[in-house]
Symmetry: C2
Subunit: 204 residues, 2 copies
């Protein structure tokens, strides 16, 4: 009960209910949960290339590549930069993106003392500078900035854009900003409408 109560969103009563549920459940079910929790810490690691999460076995040097970096079907010349593995999962669920990723593990936030050194920025720039660090040895030709459309996300994007612009041959894009599909114009706020007007796109 004490261990369950340490989890986020689990209060004393919920912890009690969970503990009694395990007490009543067959040993296999309890052991499966116990093993899954232990496995997370043992088997799940960050991809040595893009920092995505992976449960693939590490090689002798302790490095592991994720499913996406290992997939030869993906477009290895395109790299989408996101803040967190969660963002990568959300984008993967659309099934629209066929390139590789790079997870920054946060965003630049001077107020919290987080600069590029606290993130995986050097790994990202390494992949831009040395194609052999990229899966398949493919040079990056398009860098897509997929950071959150927030103040800190935009600041981080600006920094990465400046770094990338020093490297010729890399096209830098960002995820589109505008009206969310399914929304109503009259309820959109000014910033969203201003983006929608400024970034308007040709239709054919």
């Amino acid at each position: 009960m004490e261990e369950f109560a340490n989890l986020p969103g689990v209060g004393r009563r919920s912890a009690e209910r969970l503990a009694f549920h395990i007490l009543k459940s067959p040993p296999q079910a309890a052991l499966a949960l116990s093993r899954a929790i232990a496995d997370v810490k043992e088997k799940v690691r960050h991809c040595s290339v893009c920092w995505n999460l992976t449960d693939r076995a590490a090689d002798a040097g302790g490095a592991a590549r994720c499913e996406i970096c290992n997939d030869p079907q993906r477009d290895r010349g395109t790299m989408l930069v996101v803040e967190q593995p969660k963002d990568l999962i959300a984008l993967e669920q659309t099934g629209m993106y066929k390139g590789l990723y790079h997870v920054l593990m946060g965003r630049i936030s001077p107020l919290d003392g987080i600069g590029p050194e606290e993130l995986t920025v050097s790994g990202l720039l390494g992949r831009l500078d040395h194609p052999d660090l990229n899966p398949g040895g493919t040079p990056v030709v398009e860098l897509i900035l997929g950071l959150n459309p927030t103040l800190e996300g935009d600041g981080t994007s600006l920094y990465l854009m400046q770094e990338a612009s020093r490297r010729p041959g890399i096209r830098v894009t960002r995820l589109a900003r505008g009206l969310p599909t399914g929304s109503q114009l009259e309820f959109a706020n000014k910033a969203v409408l201003a983006d929608a007007i400024q970034c308007r796109q040709e239709v054919h």
Copy 2:
């Protein structure tokens, strides 16, 4: 009390409170409200060009032009199509748009029996075909589709796009679709993320 209770969102108790408030208020205040309500029906009409709302006096033929159509500072070669006057007001509040509008007064909705004939589509196409119907006699060079990013809005956009594509010299654009500014990627739905990936834009 009965009249107030007919208004949307005003129940029996609110109507009572409003009625007693008027009973207690000085005659000038009550008359000002009474006059404002009468004036709406008498003075507010649709602009004879773009169907925006206006309180300008009508000419001998009963036609009136709104502030926007009358403003020579606006870019009269650009026309932004919206569904409702409310949408126009929301876009104007951004201060980002300097062209003219055309209010459709709805959207094409076959299930509700609303086709182009029930809307102001013929007025819109007239303005595209005959520059002299447009303020200042300026030909329209850019048509911006600003309908809601919904199923019916998209259907209406498609219809207008086809009509405009038959008219050479008109560039057709639509308001940008993507992540709303200030949002979080991980909470965006699949359709929004798919738009954001597909419509990604070059940054410089």
